[in-house]
Symmetry: C2
Subunit: 345 residues, 2 copies
Amino acid sequence: MNSSHIFEIKIQIQILMPDQSAHNALPDNPITKLFGIQYPIIQAGMIWCSGWELASAVSNAGGLGLIGSGSMYPEILREHIRKCKAATNKPFGVNVPLMYPDIDKHMDIIISEGVKIVFTSAGNPKAWTSQLKAHGITVVHVVSSVKFALKSEEAGVDAVVAEGFEAGGHNGREETTTLVLIPGVRDAVKIPVIAAGGIGSGRAMLAAMALGADGVQVGTRFALTNESSGHPAFKAMAIESTEGDTTVAIKALAPVRMLHNHFYEEISAAEKAGASVETLAAMLGKGRAKRGMFEGDLEEGELEIGQVAAYLKEIKPAQTVLNDIWNEFLAAGKDIVKKNHVFLQ
Amino acid sequence: MNSSHIFEIKIQIQILMPDQSAHNALPDNPITKLFGIQYPIIQAGMIWCSGWELASAVSNAGGLGLIGSGSMYPEILREHIRKCKAATNKPFGVNVPLMYPDIDKHMDIIISEGVKIVFTSAGNPKAWTSQLKAHGITVVHVVSSVKFALKSEEAGVDAVVAEGFEAGGHNGREETTTLVLIPGVRDAVKIPVIAAGGIGSGRAMLAAMALGADGVQVGTRFALTNESSGHPAFKAMAIESTEGDTTVAIKALAPVRMLHNHFYEEISAAEKAGASVETLAAMLGKGRAKRGMFEGDLEEGELEIGQVAAYLKEIKPAQTVLNDIWNEFLAAGKDIVKKNHVFLQ
């Protein structure tokens, strides 16, 4: 090689890439950072479906699992928290509907068991936020309007879940859909925004991020997994359902999205015929959701599920669902960049 | 520089970029190609709002303008088509609700005036598609379900508009939202899909594309432009409206999303109290929408508008709106790529 003019030229082109070895798939994402998780995907804390088994499976897979305390007596909640701690060393949380009667006992257990993340819903965000935060708990409140997103931010929550009309179960009176709600909430608050309602795929996750959300909360698709404690007959009926098979009903009491069955037909006919709130409350009675979702009474139970169930076709393990959503998200993201080179200019 | 070892190294890196001089902003997009337009943005053909003035303004700005024939007598439609042809040499179309009584006369005029693009809605896609296509007309049908998207494809339409629950005016009985509907329709049909309902910004446009749509149809935001023939008082009321101020009402007759006012309160109260279909039809009477949207009777008229009106703040020229949506779309696209480098791997 004495006098020849050969040089070794080494050109390094660095395209910004996240560290593949890191556990956080989107290191700059406010939601993965806030909770210390790998993917900005949260499993909704749903009554009768999300006990420790589902929550720990989602957390172990790199999302955030939530125990749904709304269908649990206080000591049952304690049991689920302890089992969840034993089943995962990853972050998990508890969802607490604030209107439930045993709320004080629930919060005592959450604090004494050292739960680090609490999602509150169906109530005033000012009621518990400071107390929970004083114990070092990360607090997120679920809202269905810009008005309540602002109230939540003012109450000091760390993030909001903005949930649209397509969601299963309890639903906002404004009926604002996720597509319309998210940009409104995004523009109104500075804290991270998690989109919920209709997020049953990675494409919907990408859509939510396009609207300005930092992460997503997925209910229905996780309710229809092996680890969901919903009754197999309920899960099968939801999978077999098609377009228009869920409706937000009992609006005079509290709007709830549910599958059509005999109970739905009966209470809707009564509401349509002008029944009083008292009559409707008596028809609903106690334990309707348990009867349907947990005990599998498909005719007389209340079967809460989101609109997107109409397009879901299979019960899978929670980890598979989480991986599917993430891979669909990546594929949809790559596809939209490919179709819109204008984004790279 | 005689004996020094300096070499000039020229490296060309070509990133795929569309031809900036072309009129088509997304040359590979099925919607810009189908209609021969610059942006995959279609202005919905709305009653009382979209005459020749709005349609030609949108077409001149590079979108696709549609004349809404649903509120026009046949000869008025002819006048609007002629004025539109005089006002633009770009492609434009006519929206025809198939349930209207003078449908034969409307179609005769459309064919004899040489209109090249027809959007049909509210009816059976088989009724007119082959006849229109035999005259060389591009036909698009508006649907609110996968079921009707498949029927439309089978009928031979060139594309479908899939419209969600958040849309203003006539609405599907399934109440499926745009976020849930679009992926379902995308997976079911091979023809291009245009998303509608809740698309009031470039972020929502990006979300629709993420869900699998090829383009978007925008109603409310174009109804609230200078060129819209809606009454100024109606437009002002829509701009001032907030969350929860529209509802899909008169479900027993035909579901319609409208602003809350005295007429809405009265007919909703009657429906809630169990009024018969005949009573509701009598209360609605004839010309309610004209009275509200065109004549500006804000109390007794029917004021059809989409949910997204709650978040719109200004009446602007149609061209500005189209440019805003496109620029928001580009900014949102660049932002999502920046936040998700995983899409570039």
